[in-house]
Structures are given as C-alpha cells and as structure tokens.
Amino acid sequence: MEELLQQIFIGIVRGGVYALIALGYTMVYGVLRLINFAHGDVYMMGAFFAYYTALKLGVKAATLPGQLTVMAAAMVGCAVLGVVIERLAYKPVRKAPRLTALITAIGVSLLLENGGQIVFGPNTQPFPEIVPVRQVARLGSITVTNQQVLILVSCLGLMLLLQFFVHRTKMGKAMRAVSYDRDAASLMGINTDSVISVTFAIGSALAGAAGVLLAIYDPTIDPLMGLLPGLKAFAAAVLGGIGSIPGAMFGGLFLGMAETLVAGSKLFSSYRDAIAFAVLVIVLLVKPTGIFGTGAVEKV
C-alpha cells in the first residue's frame, strides 16, 4: 500500500511533464489540424538549450537566478525554434493535402534528430546538477524530494498561466476562434497567421520547459530522447481528446500514473512502454473521440 502511494506520486510527477508536452500537440492540432511530429524533438532541443546554458553559467547555474536563466533560455529557445519551424516548413503547405504537412513534420523531426547527433554528438550526456536532489518532506509513507516539488509546482504554474492566457486574454480568444473555425475567424478580422505563430511559440515553450524539468529529474540527455516521450505525449493528447486543453492535462497525468504503476509492478514491468498505448486503445474503442473530445458534427 505504501509503495503503491509512492508509485502514484511518482506517476503524477512524470505525468505532469507528459501533460506539458501533450499541451503543445493539442494546441497545434486545435488550430491547424496537424499532428506536429517534430514536437518531441522540440522537447529534446529544450533540454539541450538548457544544457549549454548551464555549462556556460558553471557553478552559478545551481543558484536561483541561474536556474531561472536556464529555464528561460530553454523556453525562449524552443519558442523561437517552434515559430521558425512553422514559418519555414508548415506554412507553405497549409493549403496542400493534410498528409503533406505531416510528412514535412516528419522531415523536420528527422532533421532535428540527425542534426542534433552531428551538433551535440550522438552519445548520452550527463545533465549538470542544477537542482541537487534532497528530501524535503515525508507525507505519511511518501517521500517527497525538492525536484518533485519543483516539477509539480512548475507544471501547475504553467498550466494555470496557459488557462489564463487562453480564456482571459484577447489573443487567447482569437486562438479559440481560430481553432473553432479558421476561415470564419479570418473573415472576422483575426490575423490567423499570427495566432498560429503564437500557438507554436507557446506550445514549443511548454515542451522546452518539460525538457528542462525531465532532464533535472532523469539527468541524462541525448539527441533521440524526444522520440518516446513525444509519442507518449501524443497518445496522452489523443486520450484526453485531441484539441482539448484540459484533455491533454488529464491524459498526461493519467498516462504518467498508469506507466509508473505498471513499471513498479513485478509482473508487468517489461511492458512499461506498451501501457500508454494499451490504455489509449481501450479508451478510444469505448469513446472514439477521447475523454474530453467533442465529436465533430457531420454535415451531410
């Protein structure tokens, strides 16, 4: 029982990070109806931006201003990267069949992975210890470390900020309008191009933050580290109902917990990477548009 609670807690921490990545998938899908296959690699780039910033800062990286600089570097770097990718690779094919954009997304993903292997080197590198781990609390039988608190607080903070942005600002309103009907939104005088760019910037910044947080938690990084978390986060976004922001948060947390529970069990631990998909398949077969997804009304 005690171990179970501990596993659930670790699952929530991991799930929070998946949720951050899933948000980027779901937001981009919401406005463009595009599965942004390169999103997992943007997450990887976030970890590397943080890595080089931390190396540059040296010992100062472990202080509070240093930590904030590392985080900011990763988020800003990824936001710029996301907008550049959108402008160069997705915008020119926006009018083409939908699968074309998917292939350019795959191309961008391959480019980041293979370019990363050349620029950063193909080997796994240790991530600098910018937040030294220490136990801060015991809640009953659960051990809580400062890193876990940091991840939970950051995820929660970023999600609240996103909710505020989407529901309380003009840009957020425009984003919701574009996601509801792009052509109509553009007829109402909304600059859809800038809305799409902002969406990419925010989604990528969240992925960058996720990259830093997970690199602090599992302190190794490599150019292919984005593949599996990217795929799982995509599964999380679909599980929650792709296009839905609360859905992505829920899906991420749910998959994170399911995964750590399976990994922690003695019998099924080798099925860890399959569980995300098994859950996804079962949920979609019962509810074909995901848990929070609304089925599109079909006009005949």
Binding site: L99, T100, I103, I106, L110, Q117, D273, T289, V300
Partner: protein, 351 residues
C-alpha cells in the same frame, strides 16, 4: 465508361506471370557474386521488400483513405511467424536441398506469414476502423508498438535479444515475385468492384454508406489484405537478413513506409513503387556521393557522407514544399497514360 474496365482480363494476370518468368531467368545472373555486386544486390533486395510494404500500405492509406500507421507491426508478425516456422520445422540445411524443396519452404513460409499477419490485421482492424482520421492513426501506431513490445517479451523467439540463425531462403526471384504479385493485386484491385467501393469510402464515407456500400466490410478487407502483404514482406526480410530484432519493427519504420507512399504520391501504385525505390536509394546515393564528387573534381569542405541523414531530411521537406501531392500526384503510369503523353507531345510539335 473508362476504357480500362473493358481491358481483357487475361492480360491483367498475364503480365505478372511474364515478369515472374523474367525474374526466374535473371535470378542466377543477379545472385552470382562475380557478375553482380553484392552491395547493389542488397539495395535491390531492400528496394523490393520496401515496394511490397509501400504498395500494400497504399491500398489502405491511398485507396481507402484510412490513415494507418502500424504497418511495421504486421511486418513483424510475418517476420517472426515465418522465421519461427522455418527454424523449428525445417531441419535439413539449405545447401543439401534441391531448388524445388527450397521453393516449397519459401512458399510455405510466405503463406504462413501472410495468414498470421492478415489475422492480426483483422484483429486490429475490426475494432479500430470505426475510428476516423488521426484517431485511427494513433491507434494503429499504438497496436504496432504493442506488437513490438509483446515480441520483446516472448522468450521463445529471442525476446529482446532478437532471433538469429534464420536460413537465407529469400532470393532475388522471391523478392521480385512477391513485389510483382503485390503490384498486380493493387492495380487490378482498383478496377474491381471492391476497389471502386474503397475509392467511394475515401471520397465520402457517408455518401458511400447511403448508397449501400458496406463501408466497414470493405475497409476491414482492405486492411487485412494490406497487413497480409506486409507480413509477407516481413517473411522476405527475415529470410534475407537472417537476423531479426523487435526494434527493427518499431514505429519509425512504419513512418518510413508512410513517407515512401506520400513521397511517391498518395493513391498511386506507381508512386508507391517510386517512393519505395527513392527512399531506399537516397541514403545510399548520398553515402557514395563523395566518391563521385571527388572524381568530378568538385571540392567540398566536408564529407557529404557524414551529413547524409541531414540532407535526406532536408530533401524530404523540400520535396513536399515543391510537390505537395508527391511525385506522381495520384496519377498512374500505364500504357494508356503513356500513349496520351506521346499524343499530347506530337500535337504540341504540330502546333
């Protein structure tokens, strides 16, 4: 009424037979290490296997318009079933067998792999083809990954160590034969009622259903056919490389097959063939480009070889920006289209 519906039905299945005869004649020459470079042969074999994969995936993704991303999973099922079959049942070493015996084993392995992968396709397709668009994509991708991880956990077939010691049954002839069969099936399918029904489903599922087309039935059969062919490709793959590993079949390979289909032009069999050949050749061409450039006295500050995967991905993006509908853009290469092309050119010359 399009003319090809009146095309004589004999020719439809005669040309693949003619190709088979050609392959049979060419096989000894091409398989001879002294007369044909083994490196080239390897590229030819892998292109052939990729043609089977991309043409079969095109049946589901291009004809029926159902976005499936789990092709590598079915390939894995075919590869593992047939490899386990030949390893456990076939006890005579290959060199002690007559050509006829080898052929019998190969046909057996191919049929078995097709049946196993087709059955898995049915299991996966039945529930998931109710889903649309991206939901179907992620569920098929998920099933592919589940298959891979299941294989990793079955110790009898090597688990995470992979399965080695498979007999090298696959020859140039068999790769060519299965590829020809796949292309013939795919081309002839389009002219049949079944193919027309698939196109109707792709264009408008609701309209097709209201006209009495059993959309689910047609989608599932197309999916099963496609999976069975992918399984056969897996069988060829396993008996060619003689070593298979669960990770050779992970989702990156499914994505690679999708790239072949779309680069060639979604919905076009010719395109799928072209796409498979190009995607197989491109990294190899880039690998050898330095030698060619050095021969041509074009100095480069770096070796292209080191950057081949980067160039590959850039080319992929560029191609999609320049030709968003793929190389063939949905068109087919056939005698009729060639004739039309020549007629247009001669008219252009006269004008």
């Amino acid at each position: 009424m399009p003319r090809n519906t009146r095309k004589s039905s004999a020719w439809r299945w005669l040309w693949p037979l003619a190709v088979l005869a050609l392959l049979w004649v060419a096989n000894p020459v091409i398989s001879d290490r002294d007369r044909f470079s083994p490196y080239l042969l390897q590229i030819v074999m892998l292109s052939g296997i990729n043609i089977v994969l991309s043409v079969s995936l095109n049946v589901v993704n291009g004809f029926a318009g159902q976005f499936s991303l789990g092709h590598a999973g079915f390939m894995a099922v075919g590869a593992y079933t047939s490899a386990y079959f030949t390893m456990s049942v076939m006890h005579t070493p290959l060199r002690l067998m007559s050509a006829g015996e080898q052929a019998a084993w190969m046909v057996g392995a191919l049929i078995l792999s097709g049946l196993a992968a087709g059955f898995c396709g049915w299991l996966v397709g039945m529930p998931s083809l109710r889903l649309r668009g991206d939901y179907l994509a992620i569920v098929t991708l998920g099933f592919g990954e589940i298959i891979r991880i299941l294989i990793r956990n079955i110790d009898q077939i090597g688990g995470p160590r992979g399965l080695s010691g498979i007999s090298p049954l696959t020859s140039f002839f068999w790769v060519g034969a299965v590829a020809a069969l796949t292309i013939a099936l795919s081309r002839n399918l389009l002219d049949s009622t079944h193919g027309k029904a698939l196109l109707a489903v792709r264009e408008d599922e609701v309209a097709a259903e209201s006209l009495g087309v059993d959309t689910t039935g047609y989608k599932v059969t197309a999916f099963v056919l496609s999976s069975a062919l992918a399984g056969m490709a897996g069988c060829l793959f396993a008996h060619y490389l003689v070593y298979i590993h669960p990770d050779s079949f992970w989702f990156v390979r499914s994505i690679e097959i999708i790239v072949m289909v779309i680069v060639g032009g979604l919905g076009s069999t010719t395109g799928a063939v072209l796409g498979a050949v190009i995607i197989t050749l491109l990294p190899e061409v880039l690998r050898n480009a330095d030698v060619l450039l050095a021969d041509a006295h074009i100095p480069l500050p770096f070796l292209l070889k080191d950057y081949r995967m980067v160039i590959y991905s850039l080319l992929l993006i560029l191609l999609m920006l320049v030709r968003p509908k793929g190389i063939m853009g949905g068109a087919e290469l056939s005698w009729k289209s060639l004739r039309r092309l020549f007629r247009r050119q001669s008219e252009g010359a006269r004008a």
